[in-house]
């Protein structure tokens, strides 16, 4: 067994520096790497490019990095629900690259799987395809999209073991598995870190080969963005 465990977020983020490109898992505030974000704020690295489906809310998630003006560029599919984001975008302080959600996921997955690019029909004929190579297959038009290149991927899983194997829970899975192994170094934080052998190999969602560092996360807030309930 190859041990991937590090003792803390601080140790897990060693090598992180300003100007780097990071992938961050999560959909809205669901399944975001809360501990890694807190550590990025503490480290104060800036001029960073974040590949993340969303940009958090004003006081949580990536909103915390926006508050400190640490982000130079966001690559996302949807960036609503965040006033500071809007302010920085309109003032030109923040560069934003909007990418269709499925394309964003596949650009991560392609990086993980060693494919330099892929064709997708998403965005053909729209401004998303401007300047990109297009090609017809079986009578339908497709846009060539390159894989992402990133320095670190920060993902959050439900359970993980010392070997870096990961299991996700519910829709907190989202972009996290696609980002594992898609950057030079993948850092996984988990709600429950267990010894190797405790997780059923049949139940592993992401094998430890895609993860370089794993740590036991703590103090998860798991904030709900839209608490929607029905009466009994």
């Amino acid at each position: 067994m190859i041990r991937k465990v590090v003792s803390s977020a601080e140790e897990a983020l060693q090598g992180v520096s300003s100007g780097m490109t990071f992938m961050l898992g999560g959909f809205g505030l669901c399944g975001i790497p809360e501990n890694a974000i807190t550590e990025l704020v503490r480290l104060g690295v800036n001029d960073i490019t974040c590949i993340s489906n969303n940009a958090g809310v004003d006081d949580f998630g990536l909103g915390l990095l926006l508050q400190q003006k640490q982000i130079k560029k966001m690559i996302s599919s949807y960036v609503g629900e965040n006033d500071e984001f809007e302010r920085q975008m309109l003032s030109g302080e923040l560069e934003v690259e909007l990418t269709p959600q499925g394309t964003l996921a596949e650009k991560c997955r392609a990086a993980q799987a060693g494919c330099p690019a892929f064709y997708t029909p998403a965005g053909y004929g729209t401004e998303v395809a401007e300047g990109k190579e297009t090609r017809e297959f079986n009578g339908k038009m497709y846009v060539l999209e390159p894989a992402y290149e990133a320095d670190f991927a920060f993902v959050k899983a439900w359970k993980g073991d010392e070997a870096g194997n990961l299991i996700f829970k519910g829709t907190a899975r989202n972009f996290n598995p696609c980002m594992c192994g898609a950057a030079k170094i993948t850092v996984a934080e988990v709600e429950e870190l267990v010894p190797a052998g405790e997780l059923d190999p049949n139940a592993i969602h992401i094998p430890g080969i895609f993860v370089q560092r794993i740590f036991q996360g703590n103090a998860y807030e798991k904030r709900i963005e839209q608490r929607t309930v029905r009466s009994r």
């Binding site: 599919s77 499925g102 963005e225 608490r227 929607t228």
Partner: protein, 217 residues
């Protein structure tokens, strides 16, 4: 004339037994409330769940189980969770049978615009471009005209496009239309709405062929 629930109720009749369905935000979300109880349907949410159920009871909400609108949800027996790449693989791979989404504008050639208004804050397209580019069966749920009374069914979209030539059917507060050979074809009128009213509210080419039946809700 229909209200938003009326539009949802009419669209629900397009949902068939055995369908996997993706519902967009807004009026499309309401469709789930009107699907016949004697058919089996699974709702997909592109953030990674098939088999979505109703909202949880107060106190039973789980931060790890949400829909694409970031609302807390429940799952039904037979549900599954998956990652975003697999989710869009389902969509791009045409495994989802029906996509229902809203629009700001639809053109007579099937173009759709629903993500960006120049000069206003752009929030992003989310999964809309992937959905419209891939789905074979797309129904748009929308009001026939905007707040200023201008038609949203146009000869050509004026807003930045979400997808080209992809819409097959449109259900509005006034009518059901199919898009065929570069025209809107009127299929049904909403209760109490005349063909003349629909013609007047439609900027794009509208084909009215014979007697147009009233919607059955």
């Amino acid at each position: 004339m229909l209200d938003k629930n009326g539009i949802a109720k009419r669209i629900a009749k397009e949902v068939r037994d055995g369908y996997y369905v993706n519902l967009g935000i807004g009026i499309p979300t309401l469709v789930a409330n009107f699907v016949q109880e004697d058919i089996s349907v699974e709702f997909q949410s592109e953030n990674g769940v098939l088999g979505m159920g109703p909202f949880p009871f107060d106190g039973e909400e789980d931060a790890d189980i949400i829909n694409a609108g970031k609302q807390t949800i429940t799952t039904l027996p037979g549900a599954s969770f998956f990652d975003s790449a697999l989710s869009f693989g389902m969509i791009r791979g045409k495994h989802v049978d029906l996509t229902i989404l809203g629009a700001m504008e639809v053109a007579e050639n099937g173009d759709i615009a629903n993500w960006k208004i120049p000069g206003k804050m752009v929030k992003g397209m989310g999964g809309a471009m992937d959905l419209v580019a891939s789905a074979e069966n797309i129904i748009v749920a929308m009001m026939h005209t905007n707040k200023a009374g201008k038609s949203k069914l146009l000869k050509k979209c004026t807003l930045p496009l979400t997808g080209v030539g992809c819409v097959k059917k449109v259900v509005t507060n006034l009518a059901v239309m199919e898009i065929e050979n570069g025209s809107f074809k009127l299929l049904e009128c909403a209760p109490g709405v005349s063909v003349e009213e629909i013609v007047a509210a439609t900027e794009g080419n509208l084909i009215v062929d014979g007697e147009i039946p009233e919607m059955i809700l």
